[in-house]
């Protein structure tokens, strides 16, 4: 019987699922260490205030309390670092005010941690924290970027004039001005990309532990990148040598970006564990997550598109105010700049582009990358502008896209904003999506809906994204303070099974399956014989972790390189055993064969020989069969595609129902189609959530209004339809797998498709734009503010 196909392209069921469906996942809060005590953070309940005094006396005397720490106790440790330095237009560096681990004399956002109470039980720590007597002197606060840059606005940091973190630009202003001067049509759109709260279902948690006998620290934490946390915490915050610190990220219950960053609680529990010689656990309550996990998006943007008389895009001018929140989170500064403005060409041949970004401090939770990170913001802007342009020039919205697409023959394509796209076929994804969504049949469906008193609209987006930020040298030149390679160690065990140690981290993506499939494909080892290990700095050589859809394109490529080395060494061992010239050894389907003969050795036999080297070329080779590779990509990868959304609006309530959603994405080589579909479905749900439901709401002073699941509208099962998901792929040309990444495409392509559909549904009301989220209240108000231009019924 032929072995089951388990390699690249097989929808094998996930290896990790058994423990999750049986209740035996191992998340950080499931871990309990001997002698463990608990931390509870007292946080600011006000947006902006001076801390006049903190009286800890009553709290310190409360039952079970072991210690209370404030900023005064942490004077010797550093602030939380920012990992990407942006430079202003004039070449000067961005403003980078200190981000203290615990507030130093001033709180700057609701949720800013002020003190930590450590007690024998969680309840005792929480009870005592409420007994802390803190005197505040309230200061005026500011929540929005538009308010924060006004003259006389409250100043979030002393020494940061007008709350501006940086004022950056990219592209050719003169060329864009010239394009606008000769344009036949100009289209302008002002829009807001609404602020979101990531809300991975597992709240953040951390356990710090210290071994006084060895001086070793261990931090268990809900992170997407344990080595990055170790580096940042050791080098910048606690000043500890990395070899004395182990960071473990066990099963992590979703991340979506929010678990990339180094957070205060990680540093505090690690530091305090050494003070108290007790393991210290902290687990966020959801209300803490709302006010302490980095938020996402929050851009206020003006875009202007210049077109010639034939509807060709000739110039694009964009200005964005990006909300940084009160402090700079780890990668916050890169999001609106190098992860966003560099994609302003979209899928189009626009020859002249100029983008400006003003990053602004406000009295809100720090904002950083959230699923898509900068790329959804750009895709939303461009795809909304294109729809507006179509309407205002009278050119069909599909036709205007076709007219401006970068043709397949033009790759590699150099955009005017730094990036070079390696591959893509935007016509192909558009055509397939239109067919699957029955775009042609829409007028009939619209008429049928109208007959039932419902407004039906259809919209599309033909987006692009960039994944796997790279290469390190370029990122470094642009301000990144870290490398962006990935690491893999492939270890054969003597009896022929394989352990993969990867620097990426799986928090839902299914790497234990997908990465194992790469081994099955390349080395011919059955899937059951491959184990993927991740999330522990004591086991993995090094790694940059998982974000930006990089795990397969970058981490998988590192595995391919390591496996290439395994095969090269295996060939030498096989040549020795088979008494042949190494140049005559071929490797295929797990077997080393002397070319043109039936003499062969399986890779299992080779592995055994490598570990029991009785008959072995010792003069030439070391024993053992284990290889490590570091892979630094040559370029980003560029997934793209076409999303089509069809909505119906209830005239009486303003509720927007997504009745049909089709996503056809180009993600390059697909390893496990089942997992790719799942990633796209989840991303689309988050994108529909952004477009219709979700909004992190602050009042003008910076008080967080949407601070729980009662106030922040998460997409639920009955808010969403079933999705039609497919891929139509071109291969990435510069990595060995051809894979581009699929984790974020859903969240990038969907919001503009949804809003384009909503605006289409409301076309009889003269509506040009609806800001996200398109809530029932907003839609109802629009419908009742303007009588329809013509009766739809």
């Amino acid at each position: 019987m032929a072995p089951p196909f388990e390699g690249i392209g097989a929808s094998v069921r996930r290896k990790e699922d058994l423990r999750f469906i049986s209740g035996h996942g191992h998340y950080t809060d499931d871990i309990n260490r001997p002698g463990q005590v608990y931390a509870y953070f007292r946080r600011s309940d006000r947006p902006h205030a001076k801390i006049v005094s903190i009286d800890t006396k009553e709290a310190a005397a409360a039952p079970g309390v072991l210690a209370i720490y404030t900023a005064a106790d942490l004077a010797a440790i550093g602030g939380l670092p920012c990992g990407w330095q942006i430079h202003n237009k004039d070449g000067s560096p961005m403003a980078e005010p200190k981000h203290p681990v615990l507030a130093e004399g001033r709180v700057r956002h609701v949720g800013d941690p002020i003190a930590v109470v450590i007690a024998e039980t969680k309840q005792q720590a929480k009870d005592a924290a409420e007994l802390l007597a803190i005197d505040f002197e309230d200061l005026p606060g500011v929540a929005t970027v538009t308010d924060a840059v006004k003259p006389g606005a409250p100043q979030v940091h002393d020494g940061v004039a007008n709350n501006v973190c940086y004022d950056w630009h990219i592209g050719d202003k003169a060329a864009v001005d010239a394009a606008f001067a000769r344009a036949a049509h100009k289209v302008r759109l002002d829009l807001t990309n609404n602020r979101l709260i990531p809300n991975a279902m597992e709240p953040r948690a951390a356990i710090g532990e210290y071994d006084a006998a060895t001086g070793d620290y261990t931090l268990y934490t809900t992170t997407q990148n344990p080595h990055v946390i170790r580096l940042l915490m050791c080098a910048f915050v606690l000043q500890l040598p990395e070899h004395k610190v182990r960071v473990v990220a066990p099963d992590v219950g979703g991340g979506f970006g929010s678990k990339i960053y180094h957070y205060a609680e990680e540093a505090v529990v690690t530091w305090a564990a050494a003070k108290l010689h007790r393991p210290i656990k902290w687990t966020a309550e959801r209300s803490e997550s709302f006010m302490s996990d980095a938020h996402g998006r929050d851009h206020v943007t003006t875009g202007e598109l210049a077109l010639d008389k034939d509807g060709k895009f000739i110039g694009l001018r964009v200005h964005t105010y990006a909300n940084m929140g009160a402090y700079l989170s780890t990668f916050a500064t890169a999001v609106p700049t190098y992860l966003s403005a560099t994609l302003l060409a979209g899928t189009y041949t626009t020859p002249a582009i100029y983008g400006e970004v003003t990053a602004v401090f406000t009295n809100t939770v720090p904002v950083d990358a959230y699923r898509g990170a900068g790329r959804p913001e750009t895709a939303y802007l461009i795809e909304r502008l294109v729809d507006c342009a179509a309407r205002e020039t009278g050119i069909d919205r599909v036709e205007i896209r076709r007219r401006n697409f970068i043709p397949r023959s033009a790759f590699p394509y150099q955009t005017p904003v730094a990036l070079q796209y390696d591959s893509g076929d935007y016509v192909a994804t558009l055509d397939v999506a239109m067919k699957k969504a029955d775009w042609a049949g829409f007028p009939a469906r619209r008429a049928a809906a109208a007959a039932k008193g419902r407004l039906r609209g259809i919209g599309m987006s033909t987006y692009i994204e960039a994944c796997g930020v790279a290469p390190s040298a370029v990122a470094g030149a642009l301000g990144a303070r870290a490398g962006l390679y990935e690491v893999a160690n492939i270890r054969f065990n003597p009896t022929g099974s394989v352990t993969v140690f990867t620097g990426t981290h799986s928090h839902g993506q299914g790497h234990e399956t997908t990465l194992a499939q790469l081994v099955t494909e390349q080395l011919g080892v059955p899937l059951a014989q491959v184990e993927v290990v991740h999330g522990d700095t004591a086991k993995i050589p090094f790694g940059m972790g998982t974000y930006g859809s990089r795990s397969l394109a970058v981490g998988g490529s590192a595995m391919v390189k390591a496996m290439d080395k395994i095969i090269a060494k295996g060939k030498k061992i096989a040549a020795h055993l088979l008494e042949a010239d190494v140049r005559d050894i071929e490797f295929k389907d797990g077997k080393f064969t002397v070319a043109g003969t039936d003499k062969s050795k399986t890779i299992g036999e080779i592995a055994f020989t490598a570990y029991v080297p009785h008959n072995y070329p010792h003069e030439e080779l070391e024993p053992g069969l284990e290889e490590t590779a570091f892979y630094d990509p040559k370029n980003f990868t560029f997934p793209g595609g076409c999303h089509i959304c069809e909505v119906e609006i209830d005239r009486d309530t303003g509720v927007v129902h997504v009745v049909n959603f089709t996503a056809v994405d180009d993600v390059g080589r697909v390893v496990n189609p089942m997992i790719v579909e799942g990633q796209v479905q989840g991303g689309v749900a988050q994108g529909i959530g952004q477009a219709l439901l979700e909004n992190a709401a602050y009042d003008a002073s910076g008080q967080l209004v949407s601070g729980s699941f009662m106030d922040y509208t998460m997409p639920r099962a009955d808010d969403l339809p079933s999705f039609h998901v497919a891929t139509e792929n071109t291969m990435c040309t510069h990595n060995p797998l051809g894979s581009k990444g699929c984790g974020e495409v859903g969240a990038i392509g969907s919001p503009p498709a949804v809003i384009n559909a909503v605006v289409d549904a409301l076309r009889d009301y003269g509506v040009r734009h609806v800001d996200m989220p398109a809530t029932p209240a907003k839609i109802w108000s629009i419908m009742h503010a303007a009588a329809p231009k013509m009766a739809a019924e």
Binding site: S22, G23, N199, M201, G253, E285, H507, G683, A717, S722
Partner: protein
């Protein structure tokens, strides 16, 4: 402190708890059953759903003392003694209805209750409505809905009535 005695996954269990201790805290912290998760503090997310006397209950919404004398089943108690999975667990795996796995225990417990209480069949709309109390951030619910529909015939030992499909 009050003493609470109950049956958990078919075995007797008892513990001393504070009056304010929630059922989920008893399960996770006193009984070591960490398969039941806590995803929020407002009884919105459903990660903590268990069965109490056969009914799906958010165990963060019930005090431990209220479960005194009750029969509680958690995700750890679903599989047979020989490890054979419950059909709902099987279908979640078969249909890729989980990604990070954090909401999964609550989803599975809710889904079992939903299927059990709908012996005449379940439409997609009913399934989606029935999942209103459970949040998932990874899957977009698409495959969860499919898994539940696929588990219905296995749990009821007959085909899904055509009208419900």
């Amino acid at each position: 402190m009050p003493q609470v005695s109950l049956t958990v996954n078919g075995k007797p269990a008892s513990a001393e708890v504070e009056a304010r201790t929630l059922l989920v805290e008893l399960l996770r912290e006193k009984l070591g059953l960490t398969g039941t998760h806590v995803g929020c503090d407002t009884s919105q997310c459903g990660a903590c759903v268990v069965h109490v006397d056969g009914m799906a209950v958010k165990s963060c919404t019930m005090l431990a003392v209220q479960a005194d004398g009750a029969k509680v089943t958690t995700i750890e108690g679903l599989a047979a003694a020989d490890g054979t999975l419950h059909p709902m667990q099987e279908m979640f795996r078969e249909h890729h209805a989980l990604q990070c796995g954090f909401c999964t225990p609550g989803m599975v417990m809710t889904a079992i209750d939903l299927v059990a209480t709908h012996p005449d069949g379940l439409t997609e709309e009913q399934i989606r409505h029935g999942l209103e109390g459970n949040l998932c951030r990874c899957t977009g619910y698409h495959n969860i809905v499919k898994a539940i529909a696929a588990a219905w015939p296995l749990m009821h030992g007959k085909g899904m009535p055509a009208a419900a499909e």
